[in-house]
């Protein structure tokens, strides 16, 4: 009898602890299984110039440009959850302004390897630089710095594998490598075995007292460009509308990045100040075919291009931030093979720059409105005074942002 009572009491105890468990288990991302988030973002852009014109000297690179008028460029949907005790899955989908959905990220991440090792595979934003991994809704300006726009088509996404190792040191020290298909610029999407692009990066960082923190990094990217065609490239004969060129060769990019943040008492809710900058240098070396539709002359071609930006963001009171950014590109001076010397522009003699100011207001942790003014001198003789108004709203699972 007393045994029965004991047993009943044990069962009750067990039941009550089981009953308590789901409340605790419904924590964090698992509360929504899988967690779901939706970013609604949109911009109104007012430009004086045609955004389709690329930065001077960068016609063979990228020009993601800007949308004019109203558009929902930054809307994004995310789904994430632990797959099992060893893996976590993440997928984010971008809602394209003209309709349609593109897969921004779709990767699986290890959670149990230990010893500071993180493995990621699938489609992800490369870990190079500082800004590359950040999603558009976390940007401090409406657009990416010119260096990112031109050299990485805003953001380098990779289909492949990333391996990172965090050192067991007091100071943050992380090294990582990636290998992937190299589908995206500066890679060229070609059908072949093996890898199409490789990335190496190292990050270090620490605090200085409780008020300051910083992170610095270096990265290196390498890919092979195969029959990469560019249209509308200006030439020495000044062909109207430019010509189409094709390049095959290697592309190697080295980058340096740093960010420093300061908050009185370390309390970022009230006020903080952030300064960041990045520098990229790309060396392309191979063969250039000039005017593929006409003269079709192939000879050697090599050029070193650089781009950097420096920006600061100041939250001067809760909810209100202002920021200033300066961008600069250098198209470099190309070594053009003798056959193309009379056609291909070796030196543009112009350094594209842009100065941008922004002011944003966040009514809550989940909403933000932004005004941005820019004087864009990235195109010679085509100064563009740009105005943007933007909103970013996040719904669903409470996001956690990286540094």
């Amino acid at each position: 009898m007393s045994n029965n009572i004991k047993r009943a009491a044990l069962v009750l105890l067990a039941a009550s602890s089981v009953g308590a468990a789901p409340a605790n288990a419904a924590d964090g991302e698992a509360a929504f299984n899988p967690a779901f988030s939706l970013i609604l973002g949109g911009t109104y852009g007012n430009l004086q110039r045609d955004p389709a014109v690329p930065a001077t000297g960068f016609a063979t690179d990228q020009n993601p440009g800007h949308e004019q008028g109203f558009n929902i460029g930054e809307s994004e949907m995310g789904i994430f959850a632990n797959v099992d005790p060893e893996y976590r899955g993440v997928a984010t989908f971008a809602l394209a302004p003209a309709g349609g959905i593109s897969v921004e990220n779709a990767f699986v991440q290890s959670t149990a390897l230990g010893n500071g090792v993180n493995l990621k595979f699938g489609r992800f934003f490369s870990g190079l630089g500082y800004l590359n991994e950040q999603h558009a809704h976390a940007w401090d300006f409406v657009d990416q710095p010119l260096a990112y726009a031109v050299l990485w088509n805003n953001q380098l996404g990779e289909d492949g594998v990333q391996l990172k190792w965090l050192a067991p040191t007091d100071m943050f020290l992380e090294v990582g490598g990636e290998t992937g298909k190299g589908r995206n610029f500066p890679g060229t999407d070609t059908a072949k075995n093996g890898s199409g692009a490789n990335v190496l990066f190292v990050h270090i960082g620490d605090d200085i007292g409780i008020e300051q923190s910083w992170r610095a990094g270096a990265s290196w990217h390498q890919t092979q460009r195969i029959a990469a065609t560019s249209t509308g490239v200006p030439d020495l004969p000044n062909t109207s509308g430019g010509v189409s060129d094709s390049f095959t060769g290697s592309s190697q990019t080295a980058g340096l990045d740093f960010v420093w943040k300061y908050a009185p008492n370390g309390n970022i809710r009230e006020r903080y100040w952030k300064v960041q900058g990045e520098y990229f240098q790309r060396r392309e070396s191979g063969n250039l075919t000039y005017d593929t539709a006409g003269k079709n002359i192939t000879d050697t071609y090599a050029v070193t291009k650089t781009g950097w930006y420096l920006q600061t963001v100041w939250q001067y009171m809760p909810r209100w931030r202002t920021g200033l950014r300066y961008d600069r590109l250098d198209p470099g001076s190309a070594e053009v093979g003798a056959l193309n010397a009379a056609y291909v522009i070796a030196n543009y003699g112009y350094t594209p720059t842009r100065t941008t100011w922004m002011l944003d207001y966040s009514p809550s942790e989940f909403s933000r409105f932004r005004l941005q003014l820019a004087q864009d001198d990235s195109r010679q003789g085509l100064q563009d005074n740009q105005v943007f108004i933007q909103y970013i709203m996040s719904m669903g699972a409470h996001g956690a942002h990286s540094y």
Binding site: N24, D27, V117, L166, A167, G266, E365
Partner: protein
């Protein structure tokens, strides 16, 4: 090359160099409690300072580096750290402190939660599904948390079980005595009407019998506008309060604005260990909290 190998070997050895537990405390109050229970058997790193909003912290490189080597993580839970801790844990590459592991400890599940929302809607502001996470403003909450934390320390470091049990016993005794003393001193506060800047004090009010008339934030986590403060002002004419409370890390302007107009004192409470000079440890935290509240009555 040999030097590099030696360096790598040294790095790998680092994790085992100290026999003591490496503890990563999300907030200063849990660092202080762990210190009480673990004494010199733990190296404690505190992720946030006494003057920081623990909900708004960045996943700084330093936090990730410290989490990498931690054996035990001690945090509030109840979504207080949801904006930064998941990134720190993911980037740390340390399975020992992931949710569900023995090295992951949350204080909130040990206590009775207040203000558990009946509906989850961000139209109500930044509400937390499991209730108000600011549990450290009621000293009684430290008793069950200490009990469970000690058990966790024992599970992670069974060799020192006796030591932890002895420290827990001593803490329980001293803490209960201290609570009795604070309650005696705070007796005049029972039934006193207060206004709070942020809904950060339900546990304190529950403990001391303070009556919360209203909050200055229109919704949790939303900064009050002047027009909203004017509404609060009208409300306070109907239902007067004796003082307006805020945590040390919060912007003083909304409290001062109200205090000036209704002629009541704006009281700044340390909120956690290190929130002000007098709140150097857990005992100082509540000594000073009670002292400041009593000063507000005058």
């Amino acid at each position: 090359m040999k030097k590099i190998m030696q360096f790598m070997a040294l790095l790998l050895a680092c994790g085992n160099a100290h026999a003591a537990l490496n503890v990563f405390a999300c907030e200063p109050e849990w660092a202080a409690l762990t210190q009480q229970l673990a004494g010199d058997k733990a190296n404690i790193y505190t992720a946030t300072g006494g003057l920081q909003d623990p909900h708004r912290v960045e996943a700084r490189p330093s936090l990730i580096a410290k989490a990498r080597r931690a054996d035990l993580l001690v945090c509030t839970g109840a979504e207080l750290e949801i904006g930064w801790l998941p990134v720190v844990l993911r980037e740390s590459g340390n399975p020992a402190i992931q949710p569900g592991a023995d090295g992951y400890f949350e204080a909130a599940p040990a206590v009775h939660m207040l203000e558990v929302p009946t509906r989850l809607d961000r139209a109500d502001g930044d509400v937390h599904a499991q209730g108000n996470p600011h549990i450290q403003t009621d000293p009684r909450n430290f008793l069950p948390v200490a009990e469970q934390l000690a058990q966790r320390l024992i599970r992670l470091d069974p060799d020192n079980a006796g030591y932890y049990r002895q420290r827990l016993g001593a803490f329980n005794q001293q803490w209960r005595a201290a609570i009795a003393k604070w309650q005696e001193r705070a007796a005049p506060l029972k039934g006193v009407a207060i206004v709070v800047q942020h809904k950060g004090f339900p546990y304190l009010s529950d403990w001391l019998g303070l009556v919360e008339v209203t909050a200055l934030e229109p919704k949790p986590g939303m900064e009050p506008s002047v027009s909203y403060l004017s509404q609060v002002l009208e409300q306070l004419k109907q239902h007067p309060a004796r003082m307006v409370l805020r945590a040390a890390y919060q912007d003083g302007r909304p409290s001062e604005w109200i205090a000036e107009r209704v002629h009541i004192p704006a009281v700044v409470l340390p909120f956690t260990v290190g929130g002000d000079g007098a709140a150097g440890d857990l005992y100082g935290l509540f000594d000073d909290t009670v002292t400041r509240l009593l000063a507000g009555l005058k």
